[in-house]
């Protein structure tokens, strides 16, 4: 087990300027910081330094439903944003998960944390990841400089797209202070088709067939012998898509879930309710969907349980097995819940890629004070 680090300060700057001054000080003193929005996305307990939260840099700057754009400060609670969008019939189409259950923490998920983690749920399959919806950002780099990139419009190819780098960088390049995101209409009608008693091979074959249709399947997940397909739409669109998919799957027996049951089911799948409250390590594994069955079998042989999302492209594995053993069967494996395991959470990069990543970190954070050791190895 990792020893509990002795008491550390909790830093909560109230503004971007205050944050900039604070980081400039830490840069000068070469003192590391552990970054957190609400502290609900990634485990940083083993990292050195005081904890810095952006929770106080909060509030929606603008929301224009007719333009499908939202600008919010990084510390804005995610549920506040989701409620505001829902009132206009819109949503964050990439469906960010709530990881509190699986990580066993009780902070407040923030929009900055969502972007820093590139958090993308089941609808990523159809709608793309968080990074595909990020239009612009403001951040403080590792020297305390306040910088911006992108903007608030749907299409923007002005200069280098640093937003892509920040999505999934977990704060190691800079601390987000403001993000501009694209919103999309929240399709009002939805249902779920469930196919019970299928093997993982059958599930992936069903997903590949369903995802080759033009019926815009917006969720394709598997666990405990059941393959689930979600269909959404506007008015008669959803009925039509459901009926065509049922015809495609016939003569298999298919359970049909209504809108309410669909919401509950996919929330559970998204938040990994089935792996919540456990102590075992939890791994997030990216594979080519048709490689999922072999990967699942090899992981299960280590003694744990696996479920699939993204039509088989995402394998969640919860169970024993050393990092070395897991990565041997699943090279693109990230350790989401440590469960007692030590060592790097992120998979090793090819040497040339690692050199580029290190070079970028060095330019954004020359003193190496932002979540040091989290992604760099």
């Amino acid at each position: 087990m990792i020893p509990e680090t002795p008491s550390r300060a909790g830093l909560n700057p109230a503004s971007e300027a205050e944050l900039g001054a604070l980081i400039a000080e830490r840069f000068a003193a070469r003192q590391p910081l552990r970054l957190a929005g609400g502290g609900t996305r990634v485990e940083t307990g083993h990292l050195p330094g005081d904890t810095l939260s952006t929770a106080a840099i909060s509030g929606v700057v603008t929301y224009e439903p007719g333009e499908m754009t939202l600008i919010a400060r990084a510390g804005t609670p995610l549920d506040q944003i989701e409620a505001m969008l829902a009132a206009e019939g819109q949503a964050l189409a990439f469906e960010p998960a709530d990881m509190r259950g699986v990580l066993g923490c009780n902070g407040t998920p923030t929009i900055g944390g969502v972007v820093a983690a590139n958090a993308s749920g089941p609808r990523r399959l159809l709608a793309g990841a968080c990074r595909d919806h990020l239009l612009g950002l403001r951040f403080v780099d590792g020297q305390g400089r306040v910088l911006k990139n992108g903007g608030r419009v749907m299409k923007n190819v002005t200069g280098l797209d640093l937003g892509k780098l920040f999505c999934g960088a977990h704060g190691t390049l800079g601390v987000l202070t403001e993000v501009a995101l694209k919103t999309l209409p929240h399709l009002p009608d939805r249902c779920t088709l469930g196919l019970h008693g299928v093997t993982v091979e059958e599930a992936v074959a069903i997903f590949s067939a369903a995802l080759a249709t033009p019926f815009e399947v917006s969720g394709a997940a598997f666990r405990d012998g059941t393959a689930w397909l979600r269909v959404e739409g506007l008015g008669p669109q959803m009925d039509y898509r459901r009926d065509r998919l049922l015809a495609l799957l016939a003569p298999r027996e298919t359970e049909l879930l209504d809108a309410e049951a669909t919401l509950a089911l996919w929330r559970g799948l998204r938040d990994l309710a089935h792996f919540a409250g456990l102590d075992a390590p939890l791994w997030r594994v990216l594979v080519k969907p048709t490689d999922a069955p072999a990967t699942v079998r090899a992981l299960q042989a280590l003694g744990g349980e696996a479920s699939l999302d993204w039509g088989g492209g995402l394998v969640w594995y919860c169970g024993p097995g050393s990092a070395q053993a897991v990565r041997q069967v699943a090279p693109h494996a990230t350790l989401v819940r440590r469960g007692g395991l030590t060592g790097p959470a992120f998979p090793p990069e090819a040497p040339a890629v690692a050199r580029l990543s290190a070079g970028l970190r060095q330019r954004f954070d020359p003193a190496g004070i932002l979540n040091p050791g989290l992604m760099d190895q």
Binding site: E64, P65, G66, E67, T69, E88, G89, N118, R124, G128, A129, R131, D141, R145, L147, K148, N149, G151, V153, M154, K155, N156, V157, T158, G159, L160, D161, L162, G163, K164, L165, C167, G168, P185, H186, S208, L211, A212, P214, L234, Q237, Y240, L286, K288, P289, T290, G313, L314, A333, T334, F346, P347, A352, L356, S357, G359, L360, Q362, R363, M375
Partner: protein, 484 residues
């Protein structure tokens, strides 16, 4: 020539041309290195034809290894490299300098793998955009980004510029459809980024590379996301007697929950030119929207009924629904011929600013005022759903000073776009065209961090010189790089 400065070519490099060409010929097939001035002249410009300069030499490799070998030579001999796809850049993104070697991906034309079960295609990046979809058609799939130049432009250029098109309102642009890339770095080193898996697990270097305008590396192979073809698509044409109400219609459609695949806008100047040229039968009014929806016939009917209801409340001059393929084609005919039609009125420069959709009416009004101030006519045709405007400024290329006036007018429009919350370029790129306006959108430190990123990939600053970053701002970086 007009107002956009290019740095002085390095006479030392030009003097070493025979040695450079000999070194390239040593590692590449005989027909892959072009040095004859008659032949290199074909590469003297891209689609921004006002600026021309033949390169020192042109390299046409057929494989990643050949691209890497050419890059290695140029790096060792400190020769600038201008990456080039099909040369359709409208921003001068592939404009050579006299001391640079062009490395073009034109001959990298293999389709390497089609995998419909995992929904991707892997290609060499010299394939054209349209041919990717053509390859996929028998399997019922397509590749979504559809730049207007898709018949000619290559995937390499699409990735370099992060190209979009009329249908990206629903399907996104290149970056949203790119899964993996084989990249040759300026040193000649080859790296693999991404792949058929959904999403990277470290820093998203591929996302950074997409749209970097050849500043970081040359992409030789790409894994592209493919999508099942929709069952059908149908456009409607809506005419309005004012720009404001047309803009309001766009916003109301988007708010309604109907997400069209395309919303295109043409103003009256454009409409008159199109009518005279293509006889598309468009109404005589201030603004026309073409809205396309897709799905099954019943789904299309339902969405069009919603759009009819929304538009009806705004008193359109005309609401024309296509009932069959011929009528659909007639609606698209004028829009698709708009750029050709405008060419008949005279020379024009095509701009590419983006504004928040809510600012469209104000921006159009201000463009009209600027048109009067500069004494040059302008037409507007653009992707209204995402606010990506394409004002076409008419001028006479044979009249001394007219191009400079048109460019000054264009710069004023782009500044206006930034002032209303938009950006300098939505899909054409910065290139040389908007390079010196970058300071309007970004403060110095914002540009510094972008140049620091380039520095990591291209420490000698040899790739695509004098593009994207203002010459003044990049000078210290280039001078420092020369010492490495």
């Amino acid at each position: 020539m007009s107002g956009i400065a290019m740095p002085q070519p390095d006479a030392g490099i030009i003097a070493r041309a025979p040695q450079i060409v000999a070194a390239l010929r040593e590692v590449l097939p005989a027909d892959a290195v072009i040095w004859d001035p008659e032949e290199t002249r074909a590469y003297e410009c891209d689609a921004l034809t006002a600026y021309r300069c033949p390169p020192l030499a042109v390299v046409l490799p057929r494989t990643t290894e050949e691209v890497a070998a050419a890059m290695r030579i140029c790096h060792e001999m400190r020769v600038p490299v201008v990456p080039r796809g099909a040369g359709t850049s409208l921003a001068g993104g592939a404009l050579p300098t006299a001391d640079s070697v062009i490395i073009a991906t034109l001959r990298l034309r293999e389709v390497l793998e089609i995998d419909t079960a995992n929904r991707f295609i892997r290609v060499q990046t010299g394939v054209t955009n349209l041919s990717v979809s053509a390859e996929l058609e028998p399997q019922g799939f397509f590749y979504a980004p559809d730049p207007s130049s898709q018949l000619a432009c290559t995937i390499a250029g699409n990735i370099a510029m992060n190209s979009g098109g009329a249908h990206c309102l629903k399907y996104g642009v290149t970056t949203n459809n790119l899964m993996g890339a084989t990249v040759v770095l300026p040193t000649g080193e080859v790296v693999e980024l991404g792949g058929p898996e959904m999403g990277p697990t470290g820093l998203d270097l591929m996302g950074l590379l997409c749209g970097s305008e050849g500043q970081l590396g040359i992409v030789t192979e790409a894994t592209l996301r493919i999508l099942p073809r929709p069952e059908g698509a149908r456009p409607v044409l809506i005419g309005f007697d004012g720009a404001e109400v047309a803009g309001e219609c766009v916003a109301r459609i988007i708010r309604s929950g109907v997400l069209p695949v395309a919303i295109e806008y043409m103003d009256d100047v454009c409409l008159r030119a199109v009518e005279a040229f293509a006889h598309a039968g468009y109404p005589d009014c201030a603004a026309v929207l073409i809205v396309e929806v897709e799905g099954s016939p019943a789904e299309i009917d339902h969405q069009i009924a919603r759009i009819r209801e929304i538009a009806g409340a705004l008193n359109p001059v005309e609401f024309r629904e296509s009932r069959n393929a011929d009528e659909a084609m007639a609606i698209w005919k004028g829009r698709k011929s708009a750029f050709g039609a405008m060419g008949r009125l005279g020379d024009y420069i095509c701009l590419d600013g983006t504004v928040p959709v809510g600012q469209l009416p104000y921006t159009l009004k201000m463009i009209g005022e600027l048109s009067r101030q500069h004494g040059l006519e302008v037409a507007n045709v653009f992707h209204a759903g995402d606010g990506n405007m394409h004002p076409l400024i008419l001028f006479n290329a044979n009249k001394p000073g007219d191009l400079e006036r048109a460019e000054a007018f264009g710069n004023d429009i782009l500044r206006l776009c930034v002032d209303v919350g938009g950006c300098l370029t939505g899909e054409h790129g910065v290139g040389i065209e908007k390079r010196d306006l970058m300071g309007k959108q970004y403060d110095d430190p914002d540009l510094e961090i972008q140049m620091a990123v380039k520095d990591v990939f291209d420490p000698r600053w040899l790739l695509n010189p004098a593009k994207v970053f203002p010459l003044d701002a990049s000078r210290p970086w280039r001078e420092e790089a020369a010492t490495r």
